[in-house]
């Protein structure tokens, strides 16, 4: 076990998977000579050469589709989206081709591809560069979606994603790339579809992933000081949802707050809430609350941006509300 940043953990996962399987390659803007816009692919070009670390032109639809074609032909591409904002240009390829090719071909074709990159807001990048895009991918059958909150999970989920025979969307976070944590050496696989209880508690369940998991943990600390023990569930995989783990926690706490960065309308939080209603209605002592980003395009100005994003205080307030302690 070594302590490293999430950036390093992702880098390690890429390196290990590329070393393990010659069919694995990395493609995207600036992944090679520049070592990645956020340095996730640092050193990979040097180690694996230009055949397997491919700098692309700026043409998201084109290179996403190229990755899909390569996957159909037996390779295991990892396509980096410099940020997920730009993947809207590739949405047709991801939704209409990657997600459906197996189905449309009656099961003949397989599309084992990973699309990965940072998702959501970083710091003051304004409306076109700050989107939390979960909903666009989670909505679509045929895709799996993962979104890690810790370096260890990042490594383990990326390795699992590369080995998965389905298209997997991996939503990372620029603001977490520098986060440090212990990461198991070598073969460390986090299964796709399995949530993780990051803090045990009995009074209220806080559900988050990626960045918001950390806000939830902060909120849990605050709540603890007021004698409220929150259980914090890290979804880790957004599609398919780990309904079992979610419901188990709800059965215990009877109160839930779901925290997401993105826009509220038809966000992942709405789905999680409804899944809880469908599976654990009788266990709920209050409606599932959601804490989300504001329903506005992201503003540039620092304080506005801060106000548009979910944070600890909102979670604490929501937790108290579902506990009727306001």
């Amino acid at each position: 076990m070594a302590v490293m940043t999430m950036r390093e953990a992702l880098n390690q996962a890429l390196r290990e998977e590329m070393a393990r399987d010659p069919r694995v390659f990395l493609m995207g803007e600036e992944v090679g000579a520049y070592n990645g816009a956020y340095k996730v692919s640092l050193g990979l070009l040097k180690e694996f050469g230009p055949k397997r670390v491919i700098d692309t032109p700026i043409c998201e639809e084109g290179f996403a589709g190229a990755g899909i074609g390569a996957a159909l032909a037996g390779l295991r591409p990892i396509v980096e989206m410099m940020t997920w904002n730009f993947a809207f240009l590739a949405l047709d390829q991801i939704v209409n081709n990657a997600a459906k090719m197996r189905y449309m071909s009656g099961g003949q074709l397989s599309c084992p591809i990973v699309f990965r990159g940072p998702n959501g807001a970083a710091h003051q990048l304004a409306s076109q560069h700050s989107q939390a895009t979960e909903t666009f991918w989670c909505h679509v059958p045929g895709l799996k979606v993962v979104s890690p909150s810790t370096p260890a999970d990042a490594k383990g989920l990326l390795k699992s994603a590369v080995r998965d025979d389905n298209p997997v969307i991996m939503l990372e976070s620029e603001t977490l790339y520098g986060l440090k944590g212990e990461v198991p050496d070598g073969e460390h696989l986090v299964p796709i579809g399995v949530a993780d209880v990051k803090r045990v508690g009995s009074d209220v369940t806080l559900i988050g992933w990626s960045k918001t998991l950390h806000y939830a943990l902060e909120a849990a600390n605050d709540l603890a000081q007021e004698g409220i023990e929150a259980e914090v569930v890290d979804l880790r995989t957004l599609r398919p949802l780990d309904v079992e783990t979610i419901v188990r926690s709800v059965r215990k706490t009877n109160r839930v707050v779901v925290v997401q960065e993105g826009w509220p309308y038809a966000g992942v939080a709405a789905e999680v809430a409804q899944v809880i209603n469908e599976h654990a209605w009788d266990d709920l002592d209050a409606p599932v609350a959601r804490v989300t980003g504001a329903d506005v395009p992201m503003p540039y100005s620092k304080d506005l941006e801060k106000a548009a994003l979910p944070h600890k205080d909102l979670i604490v307030a929501a937790a108290k509300k579902v506990l009727y302690r306001t």
Partner: protein
Amino acid sequence: VERLDPKLLESLLHQMLLIRRFEEKAAEMYAAGRIGGFCHLYIGQEAIAVGAVPLLRPDDYVIAPYREHGHALARGMSADVIMAELYGKIDGCSRGKGGSMHLFDRELNFMGGHGIVGGQLPVAVGLGFASRYQDRDSVTLAFLGDGAVPQGAFHESLNLAALWKLPIVFMIENNQYAMGTPLAKTNAVTDLYKQAAAYGMEGVVVDGMDVLAVRAVTEKAIASARKGNPVLIEARTYRYRGHSMSDPTSGTYRTREELEEHKKRDPIVLFRERLMKDGIIDEAKLKALDEQVKETVQRAVDFAEQSPYPPIESMYEDVYADEGAR
């Protein structure tokens, strides 16, 4: 003609006839309500698929838009599984899930049948990329309609193919209309092969009604592509039927006269007459071929009729590699 093996010439005629009769039968069965959805017939364009596809090796790839019955037949897919697919039956090549627009055959490297105009082109880039990556010299033959040229995907794909020197032949089937819109209303430059120059790629135009002419240019193009020099071919042709089964053959966007004028250069008639004139086939042979083709098509209908519809549970299959994932 003289330089070619009479057996080959006969086989080309045979294939064109098969496509023609298959499509006529599909139209009949569509009218009879046995086939549903969109059904785009290839009648009039047979010389292109038959001129090009049989040149490929088994390890080469074919990818096409939704008007692909002809390409599938030319690639050697049986009329049975294609007809069964049009019927939506379990023995269809895509288990009844794809229908007319989504024919696939993994064994024959027939990579679909794609419904989004231009969407198959980035995928073709990936197929070509994979061949190169795997140190195979397989070629990808990617078909598209004239209507796909204004799409961004066309530009991105040709640039990537040229930039990366991929073994791809792009074949534009210019039938002069995208649905009801004539070329001059959609493309600033209507000589579509000239697009190639923007990528430093070779571009050639050919009479798409002349199967041997198509064969000749495609043969050269495939040889070039196999060496890493992609080629763009524009084959000029005409579709005799409406855009899809629900579209009238003429009257709205094109006149009956225009259609009749083009029918005078029917690719099958032209080729048949040439072969007769050169003594490669005679009336008797022709009749035999015709009988044979009719039989094949009738057998396909019988096959499709007798095949069961897919069980309802199969709806949930083929979404993910690991079916339980949802």
